[in-house]
């Protein structure tokens, strides 16, 4: 009897674990759908920018004020951070928590320097006399680029939380799912930036 009861217990423990993992998969699907909504959000901002991209209202143009070297640097920094977050996933798949946290730290530092560069770019623009209220073009520019920047900052905040949880709990189905969704988010922001770099900066200076 004892044996049977034990088996029973064991069976349940297994079921519970299974139930959890299934539920974690569910959350990944939900996150994909969230990214769809975020896509539409950026799509709307891009459309707005496209409508207003020549509405300078006599103010400075993008061509006059954009400084490409800084933007190219931040582009490479963000692309590299996407690569390192991929390395973090590889480390997770090998089950190496320390390596995983290490790559996340590198990713976060790269993200932080991206944000730093963006802040200095914005400060520079404001000094040159281009603020959100200068013209419709600058309104659209600051809103589109700024929304991306806010997304990256939220990602950093989230990344710190997940690093702490990984240190405390190691790799469980829950922490694995969290790292997976975080890296989806990070790659997504990278893709958005590629469009942003092309549409705003490259087309802006051409």
């Amino acid at each position: 009897m004892q044996q049977v009861a034990n088996n029973h217990e064991h069976g349940h423990a297994h079921d519970h674990e299974h139930g959890h993992e299934e539920h974690e998969q569910l959350k990944v699907l939900g996150f994909w759908i969230f990214l769809v909504t975020d896509c539409i959000l950026f799509g709307s901002l891009f459309a707005t920018y496209a409508v207003l991209m020549h509405s300078y209202a006599g103010g400075p143009t993008g061509k006059e004020l954009f400084e490409l070297p800084g933007v190219i640097a931040s582009t490479f920094i963000l692309l590299t951070s996407s690569f390192t977050s991929g390395l973090a996933i590889l480390a997770m798949n090998k089950g190496k928590v320390k390596e995983l946290i290490g790559w996340l730290v590198v990713t976060a530092l790269l993200g932080l320097s991206f944000i730093g560069l963006e802040i200095s770019e914005f400060t520079h623009l404001v000094h040159e006399g281009a603020t959100i209220s200068t013209s419709a073009f600058w309104s659209a520019f600051f809103t589109l680029v700024g929304t991306h920047g806010v997304h990256v900052s939220v990602g950093l905040f989230w990344m710190v939380a997940i690093m702490l949880q990984l240190r405390r709990r190691g790799l469980t189905p829950v922490t694995r799912r969290k790292v997976t969704t975080l890296s989806l988010y990070w790659h997504f922001l990278d893709v958005v930036w590629i469009f942003l770099f092309t549409v705003v900066y490259l087309m802006g200076v051409m």
């Binding site: 699907l29 939900g30 759908i33 975020d38 509405s55 209202a57 209220s133 419709a136 939380a161 949880q165």
Partner: protein, 656 residues
């Protein structure tokens, strides 16, 4: 000190109108009464444990329902005040500013704070039960959605007594909604009330899509899923694609107002017409978001009360999903008069006409389902039957409006007002009422009284036609929407008076419904079987009210209308009893975080409304802290032991 306090109150509160002073006093008295009752009967703990922290989809559904009925009351009172003002020429019941505020809040409340929550209430009350699931995919997120809606709605309604109501129309078109023409916090209340509840709506969309895709009982293939769940899927698809556009649009409007940006301004290169395009890219799908679930309800009700399988199930699925796609290609028909090229106008005119096709398909499907059925005229069926002619007329006038050259005549006239009220009341409100009557016993365990319901039904229906048919004619006679008064010389007074009488008949219908609910709590027919209507789908296979875990045993689905199949097989003796094996049930734990987070959003929203940056920062920091806390929470679920399941089921009369 006293002087500065008086000075603060003079602009913080709305002053100078006796109607509003009356409202302030009644709000204060209601609050005192609620606090008193909760304290006297020591119900604070109960309120917190059982309701404010719940993640149970049925309870969240009930809270949505209560909130939406309150909003229906407020929006309805707004409507009646407008109709009183317009009953006779040159009346001075409301002055023009007050009238502007009232038609603005009437529209916003009825769509965003009445129809949306009533719809989410029905989603929550029904979808998991219909799918054979124990909850939605993300119960915690579901609670977040509800509380965001609730605090968004409170923020919006606060504008009535604090700061001043928005008064630039229900969609706040610039340049009227810009700082130059609408100074003060009114427009900001509009923006932030909608923004906060909109985030909740978006989350609900994601939640129900995943629930429908992943939480169906084993064996329920998508093409065996009940029609209501299909309509929810269609609606949620539109939500996730449309609501981000709304979020962006009103955020940009706020940047114009708060930071001096130039998106929609008249100067600085801004483009007000871009706002119209953006808002209707959300706004047109939005009307389908609310009406498609009503179509789902009619499909369930018709099949149940005609005791026949739904006619043309596959074409119905194609129709609701087709509408989800087409709805994104019609937005410009709201402003044919904007002056775009003929080709653009032709495109949008044709897509608008096209959308009548799937709708027509559905009407025929319902009619053929009824054909040769044994119809029982219970309340849900009555509303469904009333819906069909009403919606056909509303749809036909919609096709008239889609003819662009003619639209130059109808545009913004009372013809348009009559059209959209006919589809929104005849479609959405009748549909949701049918749904509420239909599923009420499942949620509460008793039916709503038939006789009082019949009074409500006939008053609503007669009132509807009396109210809105004259408005079609008034539109042709040149009466434009948003007039706060008119002269004797125009010849509009007889039809306006008739219309006002109709509005009051509908109001009386609502009063009967409130009476019906309060009466039925004590005297309503109890539902002891769990299947009061001889239903067809899974929700009727469990006891009423449903236990908190919904299904003691997850059902194995073999067919569409699976519960009907089981009943038929039992009747002709071919049913094979499967051995039941109860197992511990995995359930989410309650949490206070959704409520606390929404309070933080409310604080932030209030700060944004008054442009008090410090307060907005405090609120947003609170939101971030709650999210951080939630991320570190790992103990979020538990198991209901078999014994407890067995005991609960036994108390509901089911023995395992």
């Amino acid at each position: 000190m006293w002087e500065s306090l008086k000075e603060f109150c003079s602009w913080f509160f709305v002053t100078g109108d006796p109607l509003i002073y009356g409202a302030m006093v009644s709000i204060a008295l209601t609050m005192v009464a609620i606090v008193f009752v909760l304290t006297k009967y020591k119900k604070w703990g109960w309120l917190w444990r059982e309701w404010l922290t719940t993640v149970d989809h049925k309870r969240i559904g009930i809270m949505y329902l209560i909130a939406s009925l309150l909003m229906l009351f407020r929006g309805g009172v707004d409507a009646l005040m407008m109709r009183v003002q317009l009953a006779f020429p040159n009346l001075e019941f409301l002055h023009s500013d007050h009238y502007n505020a009232i038609f603005t809040t009437h529209g916003t409340i009825m769509i965003l704070f009445m129809a949306m929550p009533m719809m989410f209430g029905l989603f929550n009350m029904v979808v998991p039960l219909q799918l054979g699931a124990r909850d939605v995919a993300y119960p915690f997120l579901n609670a977040v959605s509800f509380w965001l809606f609730m605090f968004g709605a409170m923020l919006f309604n606060l504008s009535f007594v604090i700061g001043g109501s928005p008064d630039a129309g229900w969609l706040s078109y610039p340049p009227l909604s810009q700082n130059d023409f609408s100074p003060g916090p009114g427009q900001n209340f509009w923006i932030w009330g909608i923004q906060i509840s909109g985030i909740g709506s978006l989350a609900t969309g994601i939640n129900f899509i995943v629930t429908i895709l992943k939480m169906r009982a084993p064996g329920m293939k998508l093409m065996k899923m009940p029609m209501f769940s299909w309509s929810v899927f269609s609606s949620c698809t539109m939500i996730i694609l449309a609501f981000p556009i709304l979020t962006v649009t009103i955020a940009l409007l706020y940047l114009d107002r708060f930071a001096g940006a130039h998106f929609f301004t008249m100067d600085g290169g801004g483009n007000p017409m871009m706002y119209l395009n953006l808002i209707w890219m959300w706004g047109h799908p939005e009307v389908y978001i609310v009406v498609v679930p009503a179509f789902g309800i009619f499909s369930e009700v018709v099949a149940t009360f005609a005791k026949k399988k739904l006619f043309g199930y596959t074409s119905m699925v194609a129709a609701v999903m087709g509408i989800a796609i087409l709805s994104f290609f019609t937005w410009a028909h709201h402003f044919f008069t904007m002056g775009t090229s003929a080709n653009v106008i032709a495109f949008f005119a044709i897509t608008t006409m096209l959308i009548a096709i799937p709708t027509g398909v559905k009407i025929f499907n319902w009619l053929f389902t009824m054909y040769r059925g044994k119809i029982s005229f219970k309340q849900p069926m009555m509303w469904t039957i009333a819906f069909i002619p009403c919606f056909v007329v509303g749809g036909a006038t919609g096709v008239m409006l889609s003819v662009a050259p003619a639209d130059y005549q109808y545009h913004n006239s009372y013809f348009l007002i009559a059209h959209f009220h006919q589809v929104l009341i005849g479609g959405v409100v009748f549909g949701y009422l049918a749904g509420i009557y239909y599923w009420w016993p499942k949620l509460f365990g008793f039916k709503l009284d038939e006789k009082l319901g019949a009074w409500g039904f006939w008053l609503w229906n007669i009132g509807f036609y009396v109210c809105f048919m004259p408005q079609y004619a008034l539109g042709f006679m040149g009466m434009t929407r948003r007039y706060y008064t008119y002269g004797w010389d125009l010849g509009w007074e007889p039809l306006n008076l008739v219309s006002t009488v109709g509005a009051f008949l509908m109001g009386a219908g609502f009063v009967f419904q409130v009476w019906q609910i309060t009466y039925s709590i004590k005297h309503g027919e109890r539902d002891t079987t769990g299947d009061p209507w001889n239903g067809r789908t899974l929700e009727w296979s469990i006891p009423s009210p449903a236990p908190f875990y919904n299904f003691a045993v997850v059902p194995q689905v073999k067919d569409m209308d699976d519960f009907w199949r089981v009943k038929e097989e039992k009747a002709n003796g071919t049913y094979k009893e499967e051995p039941v094996h109860l197992e511990p049930i995995h359930m989410p734990k309650n949490s206070g975080l959704p409520f606390i987070m929404s309070v933080c959003w409310f604080i932030a929203g209030f700060g944004f409304v008054w442009e008090w940056t410090w307060m907005a920062i405090i609120g947003m920091v609170g939101v971030a802290l709650v999210m951080w806390a939630r991320s570190f929470q790992y103990d979020t679920d538990y198991y209901v032991p078999v014994d407890e399941v067995r005991r609960t089921e036994a108390s509901l009369g089911r023995v395992y």
